[in-house]
């Protein structure tokens, strides 16, 4: 089969799988509603509680999984291409570590809502302003991005230097988080640790809207640059000789990828592995052409996160397990099988 047609077919199948998974995910949850009750509630019929569960809890949650999954996977793909490093991830610039520090600062030092002083987990998690923790996480993630990209702009956009700078700055944020947690109360510490687990249940229509605008803008930018990313695969000198502004492309791409990650992590907590595994699976199965790997990674990321969220809510016996752990448990065996299979090993 022609390569283009095969890629289109795989993307189409992935798209249908995402839609099907999202639909199934709507019907799974701790309230044990039947399929017909879920469908009725979706159209505004049934009890008020059921309509609220579907419309105010499950739909924002599924949307968050679709948007964050796509955003993190695409960000991972771009970071891997820009840094020419298969281990690069959306968090390579230390974004997640910085967001965790910001959230910990908000939860532990300012009791979640800057002025709330209640000593229970709910107060710590939401506080007076439910967005305070997310805002604080985002501010620190943003500062980390600007710090690393600023340093690299002054000195060099050499991929090795960027990765090492990310590791160094990330470790500073982790150290600061450890010190903060050392002085935390038991309740504050619990709340901070629970925040870092990653939870799609925090999503609302408002957070989904902010995430979707950021992710959509990022995907449009990445799509426009798809040929330039293909050129980067040939090395910096070759890409420059083909007319690509390599340093500028690297700067704006890493900025966009890190911004997407910062927004997703700030609202949802740490969701690991999606940004590494999905681009790798796609590249191994469909090659490195960014015209294909960009949409395919986005769909694979959405699919993995929706499936992981469905599983996390099914296995948790009433409370959802950390979705980040499920993405790794679900994705890692598949990834390993692919690496050691003949198909994967050939690339």
């Amino acid at each position: 089969m022609n390569r283009g047609r095969k890629a289109t077919l795989i993307i189409l199948i992935l798209g249908l799988a995402v839609l099907a998974a999202a639909f199934v995910c709507l019907f799974v949850g701790s309230s044990h509603m039947t399929l017909s009750e879920c469908v009725n509630a979706l159209f505004g019929k049934g009890s008020a509680a059921q309509v609220r569960i579907i419309r105010n809890i499950r739909i924002p949650r599924v949307l968050a999984a679709l948007i964050a999954g796509a955003g993190l996977a695409v960000s991972g793909l771009i970071m891997q291409t820009c840094l020419n490093n298969p281990m690069a991830s959306p968090a390579t610039l230390g974004v997640s570590n910085a967001a965790v520090f910001g959230a910990n600062l908000s939860i532990i030092a300012f009791a979640g809502g800057f002025l709330s002083t209640g000593h229970n987990v709910n107060n710590y998690m939401t506080g007076v302003n439910p967005y305070a923790t997310s805002l604080c996480a985002f501010l620190f993630a943003g500062a980390s991005i600007l710090l690393i990209l600023g340093l690299c702009r002054i000195r060099s956009f050499d991929p090795g230097a960027v990765v090492l700078a990310g590791i160094a700055i990330g470790s500073v944020w982790t150290a600061a988080t450890t010190i903060l947690q050392f002085y935390a109360t038991d309740v504050g510490l619990s709340a901070a640790v629970i925040w870092s687990f990653g939870d799609l249940g925090r999503a609302t229509y408002k957070t989904d809207l902010i995430m979707s605008v950021t992710v959509a803008a990022g995907i449009v930018f990445f799509s426009l640059m798809r040929w330039r990313y293909n050129a980067l695969l040939s090395g910096d000198s070759a890409a420059k000789s083909m007319g690509v502004q390599v340093a500028r492309l690297r700067f704006f791409s890493m900025f966009a990828a890190s911004l997407i990650t910062a927004v997703c992590v700030s609202f949802l907590g740490i969701i690991g592995f999606v940004g590494i595994i999905c681009p790798h699976v796609v590249k191994r199965l469909m090659g490195q052409d960014h015209r294909v790997s960009l949409p395919a990674s986005a769909l694979a990321g959405s699919l993995l996160l929706v499936l992981s969220d469905t599983l996390s809510r099914s296995l948790g016996n009433g409370s959802a397990l950390p979705v980040g752990a499920i993405t790794s448990m679900l994705g890692a065996p598949f990834f390993l099988a692919l690496i050691f299979s003949r198909k994967g090993g050939r690339r």
């Binding site: 390569r3 293909n230 695969l233 000198s237 420059k240 083909m242 007319g243 690509v244 490195q288 052409d289």
Partner: protein, 251 residues
């Protein structure tokens, strides 16, 4: 015509001069061979012509236009490059060659870009490979595809950095004949570095011998003598003539 005048370059402000007043002229359709010891400044000279490095002083003109002042995209429409270390990523041969059109199409390839790609593939006998993954091809085939990608840029000057390094003798001959075809049939100026003096003598017509960032000698094949090789390479050689071909023998 490529005209390089008094080119100077340092990697660090207080570091040694890698290029120190290098000058050369290369006409359209001419094959210029840049020879010199490792570290003599050959690759740096290429990088300045390609706009990868900016010279401290001097000028690089092509058909009277200043390459240094051009945007990267404008330069890529005039100058193409086949690097020594060829990497592509897991793309099809067709897409790899089409990629050479980036400087012409910007965001998305059009009909004209596809037509150029198809013509280049046909000219180089690569049409049968079009759907193959470049990563599955041999070293010689990959080198050929790198040449095809460079030709898709429709350049007036083509730069090769050690095009025969890491190739077996059959692929060496294949690439050298491609270089000859590019220069003579398409009337493109070719500037290449080669480490093998015998290959250089068989291929080139205009030789530039670099030493300490300068072009020490500039001329035809007759210019290359045992004394000159001793001066440039610090190596003792003998030059003999076999079947009208000058051969350099290492002592």
């Amino acid at each position: 015509m490529l005209e390089i005048r008094n080119l100077a370059f340092r990697y660090h402000a207080h570091g040694p001069a890698v290029l120190d007043g290098a000058s050369l002229t290369l006409r359209d359709g001419e094959i210029g061979i840049l020879l010199g010891k490792n570290g003599s400044g050959k690759t740096t000279l290429f990088k300045t012509v390609l706009g990868i490095e900016k010279p401290a002083s001097g000028s690089i003109l092509f058909d009277g236009e200043d390459l240094v002042k051009m945007s990267r995209r404008e330069r890529a429409r005039r100058v193409a490059y086949v690097p020594q270390d060829i990497r592509f990523g897991a793309l099809s041969v067709y897409d790899t060659v089409l990629m050479g059109r980036i400087a012409h199409f910007g965001f998305a390839a059009g009909k004209e870009d596809e037509a150029v790609t198809e013509r280049v593939l046909e000219d180089m006998g690569l049409t049968a490979f079009a759907e193959r993954n470049v990563e599955e091809l041999s070293g010689g085939e990959r080198q050929k595809i790198a040449v095809a990608r460079a030709l898709a840029q429709e350049p007036k000057l083509l730069i090769f950095d050690e095009p025969t390094a890491n190739l077996d003798i059959a692929n060496e001959q294949l690439i050298l004949s491609e270089i000859r075809l590019v220069a003579k049939e398409k009337h493109i100026a070719v500037l290449t570095s080669l480490h093998d003096l015998n290959e250089a003598l068989a291929l080139g017509e205009h030789f530039f011998l670099m030493k300490e960032g300068k072009i020490g000698y500039d001329g035809g094949a007759d210019m290359i003598t045992e004394e000159m090789i001793r001066d440039i390479f610090d190596a003792e050689v003998r030059i003999v003539e076999i079947e009208k071909q000058r051969i350099v023998i290492k002592e």
